[in-house]
Amino acid sequence: MATENVQAEHGGGLALDPMHQFEVTPLIKIPLGGIDAHFTNSSLWMVIGVALILIVMLASSRKLVPGRLQSVAELGYEFVANMLRDTVGDAGRPYFPFIFTLFVFILAMNMQGMLPGSFTVTSHIIVTFAMALAVFIGATIIGFIKHGFGYLKLFVPSGVPSVLLPLLVVIEVISYFTRPISLSVRLFANMMAGHTMLKVFGGFVVGLGVLAGWVPLAVMVAITGLEVLVAFLQAYVFAVLTCIYLNDAIHMHDH
């Protein structure tokens, strides 16, 4: 009973504010006409992430027998190259730089979000949606370039009675337009839910104190492990779905 009261007190107070970590605050104000172009904490962590990627990718030596840093860079390269080859085939090669950049960026953002006190850029839907929209528009343009107006056949399923065809075309179009949204929502929801959960359990640890706080602490350790996994997996899922959409645009086999 006493512990519950303590928890309630803390829960209502400042100890438990799980959404505070997602707040975007401007660090350097850049008023660009009417446009909000502030350099925020989100931008700062993006810059830090990109700097880390550049260190791994550029500062690593180019030896025949790789060192640690070079190994990381090479593993990342091979991982994405294999993924692209398996899903798209050789036709996907020109798009490797884009997929690689996307994967490494999301991975870096997700992973640095696991550091205490850091800001998880991918927990904001506007960030993930911008990336997903770029993928969606890019894949659509590639589809139209490769197939011309024949790309619209993607919306016409084969072997369907003509009575049902208009209905199915509408359904196919809706299904096509769900792509950028489901792509972005998946990443954003995973990151935000995970980090909120971590904060809530962290609040429990503080709230329950030395006596009972060990139980949520143990859960938190487990969730932290899971979150590292999710951080990697969601970067992978984002990249692999991008490859699948690219494959649809290039090869256009009806599903």
Partner: protein
């Protein structure tokens, strides 16, 4: 002297290769189990978002058309239903492609995904054998 030593060293090399392959196979096995459970988790989430998002897109399209044409509730009603249908279609497709991947190419996709896979495994022989192993494993986990 060189002729004397070369057969033993090639024997040793073969022995080493065998042991290496065995060790790598067991590591792959273990990794795949971990990967399988975690990818099931992400697959479940993917299915859930697919369904919800399709309905949301249907809602948006219907609301937009109503707003544009001034036919207040009708397109909204129609497109929510169509969105739900599209969502189910997406789910069925995702399940189909996952199924197909598990039966056909999980060997390639997982060994490609494993950061530990090296060029030696890329040889055709190793790949064929690995494919058989993976097929069996796919059945079991499924």
């Amino acid at each position: 002297m060189g002729d004397d030593r070369s057969p033993t060293s090639s024997d040793q090399l073969r022995d080493f290769k065998e042991r290496l392959n065995r060790a790598q196979a067991s590591i792959r096995e273990r990794d795949r189990e971990a990967y399988g459970s975690s990818s099931a988790y992400s697959f479940g989430l993917r299915i859930a978002t697919e369904l919800v998002v399709a309905i949301a897109v249907g809602f948006g399209a219907g609301w937009g058309l109503d707003h544009w044409l001034g036919t207040k509730p009708w397109f909204l009603v129609l497109f929510i239903v169509l969105g739900a249908v599209a969502g189910i279609l997406n789910v069925v497709r995702a399940a189909h492609s996952a199924e197909a991947r598990r039966h056909l190419g999980i060997a390639e996709s997982t060994s490609g995904d494993e950061p530990g896979s090296d060029r030696m495994e890329r040889s055709r022989k190793a790949r064929g054998r690995q494919g058989q192993e993976d097929g069996g494993n796919g059945e079991r986990t499924g």
